[in-house]
Amino acid sequence: MMHYHDRTRAAALLFALSFVSPPAAAGPAARGAGDDGAAKTTEETVFTQWTTYTTADGLASDKVFCVLADEDELWAGTDRGLARLRDGKWKVFSKDDGLSFPVVSCLALSEQTGDLWIGTFGGLSRFSGGRFDTFNQLDSGLVNDVIYGLTVVGDHVWVATSAGLSRFDVKADSWQLFSHENTVMHEPWCYGLTQAPGLLYVAVWGGGVVEHDLARESWKEYRDPDQEMEIDLLRDDGLIHDVTSSVSWADGFLWVGTYFGMSRYDGKSWRSYLDHDTGLPSNFVNVVRAQGRAVWVGTDDGLGHFDGARWTVYRRDQDGPGGTIRIAEEDGTERVLASANAIAHNFVLGLESRTDRVWVATAAGLSVGSRGAAPAAAAGGGR
């Protein structure tokens, strides 16, 4: 078996610990701080225990695009169906069960109704009361069936598609389309969504980031200031690149993933993160996940965590099951720790996180990380 499995431990880790909402932090995170802003030692902040699920455990496919953790359930969207972990067992949902299409790219939960919204490459599905309802471009107001992002704001389900942004008012049963025709969007290719208080942010492929004021129904665009694809003219002058892949907001910080690095916007100024000048694992950022004032970053070459001062990068060794944890401090010091187990694969596609838990969707399975005993320092660490 190529990947690490420990179903007993996984079940224990998943359900023995209660989920804790990240508290709001008042100021910039201290060096070595945890996601809650409190100073912690390295051993308290790094995730050293990893458990991986694959098809051998009941997943629909090892290629996992997205993950969502509910109170007592874990959902995984793969290229061959939707899977749910409940009571330690995986159940796979397919088209036969009512899922609109087997390629599941994104998931969102309605806090009001508890409904699970499922974005696929063949339409939108809603899982409610054990039943799937399907919405597609032929039988609803959904603008396009190829869906990349979802978020639920009250009664509104926002859907990012290849041809624009659709908003479904669940109560009114009505749809509205937002695209380059009626907003400031440079292009209608919408790939990621996130909420901030009163705001919605959209990652627009080739169009940077668009901010939507939900109350005023106004739109604002953030673009790469140099307007040249091949360069970043000045560091921290704005969004690093117009080709954006993911957005996530928490505690005053908007994080933007691109295939050319990562950007952070605090409402006033931008900060850029590239793999040569920070601890970012790779410039090819598939997904960002804000948590408190920190961020998890899923790249094509590992999983990163940045708390405002310290970068922690998790990678699996080529032959597994172990890996390394590279910790880079703000002052330039760096340590590499060895871990007995690691994420399923370094190609990270989706993320979900809580204070003491992170779920990592990868190209070779779904991994669950938690904190544990301090790993040993590996050779080559420190400088």
């Binding site: 695009f65 390629v103 490459f121 190829v146 598609t161 290849s162 492929w205 003219l233």
Partner: protein, 434 residues
Amino acid sequence: MSARAFRPAGTARLLSVAALLLAAVATGAPQDAGGQGYTEQGTYAGTPEAFVPYRHSGPVYWHFYEAPPPFRGTGRLTAPPTGLRSIKIGLIAPLEDTADTDIGRSMYQGVTLAIEEANRADGFRGVLPYALAVRNDSGIWGASSNTFVELAWRDDVWAVIGSVDGNTTHTVLRVALKAELPIVNTACTDPTVTETAIPWILRCYPDDRQYGYRLARAVFMERGHERVAVLRANDKYGRMGVKEFTDAARRIGHPLALEVRYLPGEQVFERQLERIRRAKVDAVVLWSNAQDGARILAAMHAAGMEHEVFGTERLVSAAFLAQAGAASEGVVAVCPMNVEETNAAWDDFRARYSQSFGDEPDAFAAYSYDGTRILLDAFERAGLNRVRIRDELAALETYEGLAGPMTFDPTHNNLGQIHVFEVQGGRFVHVAGP
């Protein structure tokens, strides 16, 4: 093939980094600025020095596209499936209900000829025939992503060829990243298509950067014009295409006097032509397809406008000459190959093509044939594994095609060789090389 010309590392690059760092310190710039550049391998996309953006602004903080984007995902060990009866390849091209059906037909015929010839030579490794799954590119937002999903997950194709439209190509590329399906593009000129860092595309057809640079040289440097207007299609082709020409013109001291748009398919151009006349320009650059360009030229001709007119590669076609008639005389256009050149391989291809389809091949047909051959060669080397097929395409550095020599940059984009033609006596005559 030869060794890749673009290397991201090495002594020369380290020296250039050191030199730039020293320069940054000397000028008081931040020490981490300008950490790399194109000193070793020249400018990005072969951009002439005079056209390089921000070249007077000091060190650029970071240059992207210096190294080929890797694919670090899984799949290289995936075994080929059993029970296959053919190797399916997808083709997305504008074949009906669009203004680009001429291009689509050329693409289809070029691809078809390459596949038929491969099958007559016993197909994939002598054991399986290739088959084409053809889809129309309607150019409608979103439709192409649905089409690509069908090809990837319903038709189970091993790779896709296409398309022309920049919107279509971008949307299918984004799906390709999830589907992990190689794309060979043989007709799209939107420069940004290969500038997304998605490692699943190879484009063999030169893009509008190259046409823009070559046109700027022809218009301002070779023909000495100073005040120029652009009349362009108000669509993605016109919007993205004209950018590099406009930027290049500005960077050499000739900012456009006027940029005016028309809607694709528009029949009357009085409003646009009046604005051009008032701008008192001495040349007009058309960024249009053949049909629109022919109508514009006819309108200019009827209005007595005698400006020298320049155009993109889409004008270099029999359809344009037939429709524009006498109004096309003197039009100067760029083309990604020298269709006048005579050599045995091209002559033989023309004969085979004409025999199969009853008409003459154009650049789109030639590039589509070449792109298909590149893909089939990758199949032969890689076997039936999508990631390995991608790896083979990504490893391609140069290729001697029927359309001419190809040089792929780190974004897997053929920089090509752009020629200049002029309509003389009712036909396009080669007047300048790359």
